[in-house]
Amino acid sequence: MKSERILIKGNEAVAYAAIEAGCKCFFGYPITPQNEIPELLSKLMPENGGEFVQAESEVGAANMLLGAGACGVRAMTSTSGPGIDLMQEAISYMVGSQIPCVIVNMSRGGPGLGSIDASQADYYQATRGGAHGAGRTFVLAPSTCQECYDMVQEAFDIAFRYRTPVLVLGDAITGQIKEPVLCHPPVHVPDDKAGSWCLQGMGDRAPRLLKSVYLDDGALASHNELLEAKYKAMQADPRAECLDTDDAELVVAAFGSIGRIARSAVQLARASGHRVGLFRPQTLFPFPARELERLAAEGKRFLVIEQNAGQMVDDVRLAIRHHADADFFGVMPGIFVDADDLLTPILNCMRDAQ
């Protein structure tokens, strides 16, 4: 494919990126606000030699994903928060069995049926493993349609690099907003190295088994040590966007769609002479703690803005705890805010310091 700039929704960017990344199996179940993803892929997957299955539920979809992932092919599902709840079982099994896959959560408000509006209240669920048994998944947080495209492509590389489920955590805004996206072939030629572990029928080699059960004395402990070492290795891959943080007195930390709105608010504050910067984590697990700590060590102050009652703020406080504390401004899920709405808490924070 040639690179091409087209006007699409974030959800459509996810679907195009999956195809371009060589995704061969998609399993999904309808849920707002991500329906454009399965709708588009129901056409694109068969056109590109792949399989599309509308599953009976998110439980079914995620366990189909486990089966396809076990075969070493690039496989994906997409859903929204309530669907992620149902997928936690399979996610836990995939973490335990070291099966790579990509899971997109265009999250919505909760708890319960909640709303179909934007929300960042799935941060804890995404970054703490979600299911029983202490598993972790790699978590990417796009804030624009372009990042939806780029991060979904990259998510497959990460999934196979670490043999792990990778979660792409967007929300109703990132999924539904429409903007120009540069669609392009993968930056790196995929090299999944799945040949050494994937299921394909044993042929002339020894049989293979992918499992998460370890009953022998000490076996589960060893397995969990291996997984913990993997989570630790992931810590080498954190990423964040820093805007005007070098000379900032106040660093605003925000992720995803709110991070994007906070970016505009920070620019407004700059324009009126305030030394404010933006720190936008692009990976939520691993959390870019070291970079935050470096900024804290320089004596900066912090304001965390999220569309929830305060979740990522815990990770920010942990990162900067030896040097500073963080203020928090929360927007309740379902409330739409613009840059002016976020400028006020930033300016209040600046005034409080004086």
Binding site: A55, N63, L66, G67, A90, P207
Partner: protein
């Protein structure tokens, strides 16, 4: 005189079966079912292109006994996982091996939906009317009046409903190419079961649809019976509730025409 030259091998374990002791209790029918599947996979010559999907329950360690590539599914999800495997590896033979709690309680939706989609997979269903691995609790297939650790007064129709009859349910679904119920309590029944298992794989190989075999089995440990009593229970109590037979066979008309 060399006595060994007189030896003639008339019976051996199939090459598809591993040489290891099973974890099954004395008198359990899993050993017979496992061997039948292994024999069929050997005779069909497809073991090297086969991927098995293990379920949760006593059946979980089937991967230790039948050779080949295996993936472990979550409890009840074997048919969904097998769907993913088959879609990713359409050239492989894909099968699940599941008990009654796994397939017909927690996994009923995944089982029926995969069958209804006509997934080209083979499902081996062990029906022993209770949860074996967890200690003999009531299963969806437990008989009316059957005492278990969670139905100490016996299963009641009023509160727990009647036993689920999977073959009868699946026979309604057009994606099912073959569904049969067999028993493992006699030589004749075991031979019939093997033919049914073979058929359930053949419909997959011929791209006809979902293949299903239910095997009525015993669990002496949790039934608190001797192996012989548990075996006898199959013909005396199980078969009257779960009649044996072929419930759906899309190839039946072929035979009639031939």
């Amino acid at each position: 005189m060399n006595l060994h030259s007189e030896e003639r091998l008339v019976f051996a374990a199939p090459s598809t079966l591993t040489d290891r002791q099973t974890h099954y209790c004395p008198g359990c029918h899993h050993g017979i079912a496992t061997r039948l599947v292994a024999e069929v996979l050997e005779e069909l010559g497809c073991i090297r292109q086969t991927i098995g999907v293990a379920s949760v329950g006593c059946s979980v360690f089937t991967y230790n006994y039948i050779l080949g590539d295996w993936v472990e599914a979550a409890h009840g999800r074997a048919c969904a996982t097998a769907t993913g495997v088959k879609r990713a590896r359409p050239d492989c033979t894909v099968f699940t091996y599941q008990g009654d709690g796994d397939l017909a309680a927690i996994g009923l939706n995944e089982s029926l939906q995969a069958a209804n989609r006509g997934e080209r997979i083979t499902v081996i269903f062990i029906n022993n009317t209770l949860y074996g691995m967890t200690g003999g609790q009531m299963a969806p297939t437990s008989l009316i009046g059957q005492k278990t650790t969670t139905s100490p007064a016996g299963r009641s129709f009023r509160k727990e409903g009647a036993p689920i009859k999977m073959c009868e349910l699946l026979a309604q679904l057009e994606g099912v190419a073959y569904a049969a119920r067999c028993a493992l309590d006699s030589v004749a029944h075991v031979n019939a079961a093997k033919r049914a298992i073979r058929k359930a794989f053949e419909v997959q190989h011929r791209d006809l649809g979902f293949g299903f075999v239910e095997l009525l089995s015993g669990c002496p440990t949790n039934l608190h019976m001797t192996p012989l009593e548990a075996n006898r229970r199959i013909s005396e109590a199980l078969i009257p509730c779960f009649p044996l037979g072929v419930y759906r066979d899309v190839t039946a008309t072929e035979k009639a025409g031939a």
